[in-house]
């Protein structure tokens, strides 16, 4: 789907939804209009649950608190002060401000570095419990358990409230859809998929999560403010974790990660609950509960994906055309002049001084000292378990080493997190291919470029500019023919190549490559090797490479460092190291000749 087509589809959807809201009061009875006004506001909060849970992957039970913040701000101001337009604006400001403050504190606690997803969920569960207790202890000020009622509010008709609530919901839903489909919105999925990779692509994931959380808090607070204005009653249950959990259930029922699903799910369930509680006051909750269980068992993805699949399937069998992933993004090479970056300074690009890494009593690295200049291609070889990957990790993440100093381009990395090390010019490729499994090749590459090309909050770029080196890797391995393929369908070697291209897209000055060509054929290895040599010689990158293929090492390195049992045992030119007795002893074994020898002697072991 082209970009203009997507935007016009969205606009048509917006108009249709607005028309439905506009016509609603003329088609529905008074009772339904009354109930649905509430449902429309609840749906806006369910939308925020879906943004956080369905897209960002944070299961949150506490969105009710932001709704209550807006509602109580209105209730408190209108009860304890006169109702004036100025005070109405003050109440909205207090509601939104209170929600923002709460969200900032909770976000800082839940999403700061090192906090796990489960920890974040627990905090969002604690939040409504604490909030409810605060409302209970507020005495006459908050109305304690009976809440606040009987305050004066806006003089708006019931239809007017319906249009206001509906208009608000349609607007935030449209904006949310526009955002999640945009280049910036894709970051949410990337963070959910693989937060580690995001950090090593230089993205501050904590800040991203908190920003989205704050925006969701504002939406919740405005919905709550409208609710208090229309219902003219606020109760502690609005902040409770029962409501918070119901929002999660509605989201799951409607279809997590679809935005529209949770909105429609909330409207149906809340409206039906009101109907049933009137008709069957004793068993309605049982009926609702059974339906929940049945839907979740039969359609684990929720209702909307199932409903949306029906026309898609009909359409497909009608056209007899298999759904082929098509990349809507064209790749182009960045002008090399723009990617050169600052000229490499005189000092070493990378200096490692006395670095050690201990896990309890186990010392994995000890007294590691070396410096590498820009333009050097240093291979790190050593037996399995010598500490090569640990050393890579220490250079790319300031929190990893136990002692010592690491300087990148003249900057001491101190205790900086990975994303800050990326900002200093470090690019790291992991040992096991580390990409975004559900995103396509083109999308993975786009996310790698986010640091350089700020993504649009509502548009999708049709063109992706990549540095020459990344383009070389993509063309060499044939990834350019698979731009629309989701990464999890790529072969192992292709994933390695994709990750390498992603890291090169960062335009690093110090490139850390942990077995970059594992899983590639000899021919592909040599092609990648040529690209690496070019990067080092022509573009002045400092490349540190872990490799086991000594032929490959000999071919491309300008220098080899041998690591053995956590220490540097040799550091010298390729010929000095590869032919040394030590390497033969601890590392190389008998080489290929040895294998052939064993092959020749296999009669002895075969019965």
């Amino acid at each position: 789907m082209t970009e203009s087509r997507r935007l016009s589809m969205l606009f048509i959807g917006f108009l249709l939804a607005a028309a439905v809201i506009g016509a609603g009061p003329y088609l529905l009875d008074t009772y339904s209009v009354n109930v649905l006004t509430r449902s429309l506001l609840y749906a806006a909060v369910a939308l925020t649950v879906d943004l956080l849970w369905g897209y960002l992957g944070i299961l949150t039970f506490g969105q009710s608190v932001f709704f209550a913040a807006g509602a109580y701000a209105a209730g408190l101001v209108f009860t304890h002060m006169d109702f004036t337009p100025g005070n109405a604006a003050l109440a909205l400001g207090l509601g939104v401000g209170g929600a923002l403050l709460t969200a900032a504190i909770v976000g800082w606690l839940a999403f700061w570095h090192g906090a796990s997803a489960l920890y974040a969920s627990v905090i969002t569960l604690v939040l409504p419990i604490v909030a409810t207790q605060l409302l209970y202890t507020g005495g006459e000020f908050t109305g304690s358990s009976s809440g606040l009622s009987g305050f004066t509010s806006f003089d708006i008709s019931m239809e007017g409230w319906f249009w206001l609530a509906g208009g608000f919901l349609v607007c935030v839903t449209t904006l949310a859809v526009l955002f999640v489909q945009s280049d910036a919105g894709r970051l949410l999925v990337a963070v959910r998929e693989n937060e580690q990779r995001c950090k090593y692509l230089g993205l501050d994931t904590s800040r991203l999560k908190i920003t989205v959380y704050l925006a969701c808090a504002v939406i919740g607070a405005v919905a709550g403010y409208l609710y208090a204005g229309y219902a003219m009653v606020v109760a502690p249950e609005l902040a409770g974790f029962v409501f918070g959990t119901e929002l999660v259930i509605w989201t799951a029922l409607g279809g997590r990660g679809t935005l529209l699903g949770p909105v429609i799910g909330t409207l149906i369930v809340d409206y039906e609950s009101a109907q049933l509680s009137g008709d069957y006051p004793f068993v309605w909750q049982l009926i609702i509960g059974v339906v929940f269980v049945l839907v979740i068992v039969a359609f684990p993805r929720g209702l909307l994906p199932v409903v949306a699949d029906v026309p898609r399937r009909l359409f497909r069998s009608f056209l007899k055309r298999p759904a082929r992933p098509v990349a809507s993004v064209r790749l182009s090479t960045l002008d090399p002049a723009l990617t050169q970056g600052e000229a490499p300074g005189d000092g070493p690009a990378l200096a490692v001084e006395g670095v050690a890494r201990r896990f309890g009593s186990l010392t994995v690295l000890d007294g590691i000292d070396f410096a590498a200049r820009a333009g050097e291609l240093v291979s790190l070889v050593g037996p399995n378990g010598a500490g090569k990957t640990t050393l890579m990790r220490c250079i790319a993440d300031g929190a990893e080493r136990s002692s010592g100093r690491i300087v990148v381009n003249g900057h001491d990395i101190g205790r900086r997190p990975p994303e800050a090390c990326v900002a200093l010019g470090v690019g790291r490729k992991f040992q096991m291919a580390n990409v975004f499994e559900t995103l396509t090749v083109a999308q993975c590459l786009q996310i790698a470029r986010v640091r350089h090309a700020r993504p649009s909050l509502w548009r999708r770029a049709g063109e992706l500019h990549l540095p020459e080196s990344a383009m070389h890797v993509i063309a060499t391995t044939g990834l350019d023919r698979q731009l629309g393929t989701p990464a999890h369908l790529l072969s192992h070697g292709m994933k390695q190549a994709l990750e390498l291209a992603m890291v090169l897209a960062l335009e690093p000055r110090v490139l850390l490559l942990d077995e970059p060509t594992a899983g590639l054929t000899k021919t592909e290895r040599m092609q990648i090797g040529a690209i690496l040599i070019d990067l080092a010689r022509r573009q002045g990158l400092c490349v540190l490479l872990v490799e086991h293929d000594l032929d490959f090492v000999r071919e491309i390195s300008s220098r080899v460092i041998v690591l053995h049992q956590g220490r540097i045992v040799l550091d010298g030119s390729v010929e000095e190291v590869v032919n040394s007795e030590l390497v033969k002893q601890v590392y190389a074994g008998s080489g290929h000749a040895g294998i052939q020898h064993q092959a020749a002697g296999r009669e002895e072991v075969t019965p």
């Binding site: 298999p322 759904a323 896990f359 050593g382 037996p383 399995n384 378990g385 010598a386 500490g387 090569k388 990957t389 040992q431 096991m432 291919a433 391995t477 044939g478 369908l489 790529l490 072969s491 192992h492 070697g493 292709m494 942990d514 077995e515 594992a518 899983g519 590639l520 054929t521 000899k522 021919t523 592909e524 086991h548 000594l550 601890v586 590392y587 190389a588 074994g589 008998s590 080489g591 290929h592 040895g594 294998i595 052939q596 064993q598 092959a599 296999r602 009669e603 072991v605 075969t606 019965p607």
Partner: protein
């Protein structure tokens, strides 16, 4: 050049250990492996080579039941395993050494071994591990996730051998291993076959290793076997290289 002694132990009957007939498999609409057939005699080691994305790993995953079979039949020692789920296939005596995410990272080395070994005699399994990679016995209490990448590969292979599986499907075991360990691994695999008659299907990128270990080789190209032969043929190396470099 044919050396009779290098052939796998002949079995009494002619039932292949693994028979794959016209197997097709792939992902969501994309056929990756097309009507592939192969038969492994008991005790035979076969190496499957090929460029990236040609369907080597897909073949193993389809045999193991991790990917749907779009057509074809898989028989293990004469038993139809085409429609069985992976855990039932494993119980038939097939071990799978996957390329990625195959260890329980948060469990110790010993726990990883205990989970895989179904036989009551764990001591015998440990003895098998010791024969293959003795250093693992000193690391039994270490979390598998804290082993280095290469050490994890060694644990993976040792675990597969310790289960006593009669057929092993091995996906690029040499990746990330230092040369001397690859040497050792070749010996370990030949030795295990000699003692237990284990049949093996190896997917490999490391050509010298594949030729040293296997009895026969086959090259997979775009989901179909493009060439095959005995590893003892003098031109095997050159023929495979030709396929890999086109």
């Amino acid at each position: 050049m044919t050396a009779p002694a290098t052939n796998p132990p002949a079995s009494a009957n002619d039932t292949p250990a693994l028979a794959v007939e016209n197997l097709s498999s792939g992902y969501a609409g994309a056929v990756v492996v097309r009507e592939v057939s192969l038969a492994l005699q008991p005790g035979e080691i076969r190496a499957v080579l090929g460029k990236n994305g040609m369907g080597k790993s897909t073949l193993l995953k389809a045999v193991m039941g991790f990917l749907p079979k779009m057509g074809g039949v898989v028989r293990f020692e004469g038993t139809d395993a085409t429609r069985l789920p992976p855990h039932r296939i494993a119980r038939l005596g097939i071990g799978y050494v996957a390329q990625e995410k195959a260890l329980f990272q948060d469990l110790t080395v010993e726990e990883n071994l205990r989970l895989a070994v179904r036989a009551p005699d764990f001591a015998a399994a440990l003895a098998e591990v010791e024969t293959a990679f003795p250093f693992l016995l000193k690391r039994l209490r270490q979390r598998a996730g804290t082993l280095s990448g290469g050490e994890q590969k060694m644990l993976l292979m040792a675990r597969a051998l310790a289960t006593g599986a009669r057929l092993l499907l091995v996906d690029e075991i040499t990746e990330g291993l230092q040369p001397s360990v690859i040497d050792r691994l070749a010996g370990v695999i030949r030795d295990a076959r000699a003692r237990h008659g284990t049949t093996m299907l190896l997917v490999e990128q490391h050509l010298p290793f594949a030729l040293a270990v296997a009895d026969r080789w086959a090259v997979l190209d775009r989901g179909e076997f493009a060439d095959a032969g005995a590893t003892t043929e003098p031109d095997a190396h050159a023929r495979i290289l030709r396929h890999l470099s086109v």
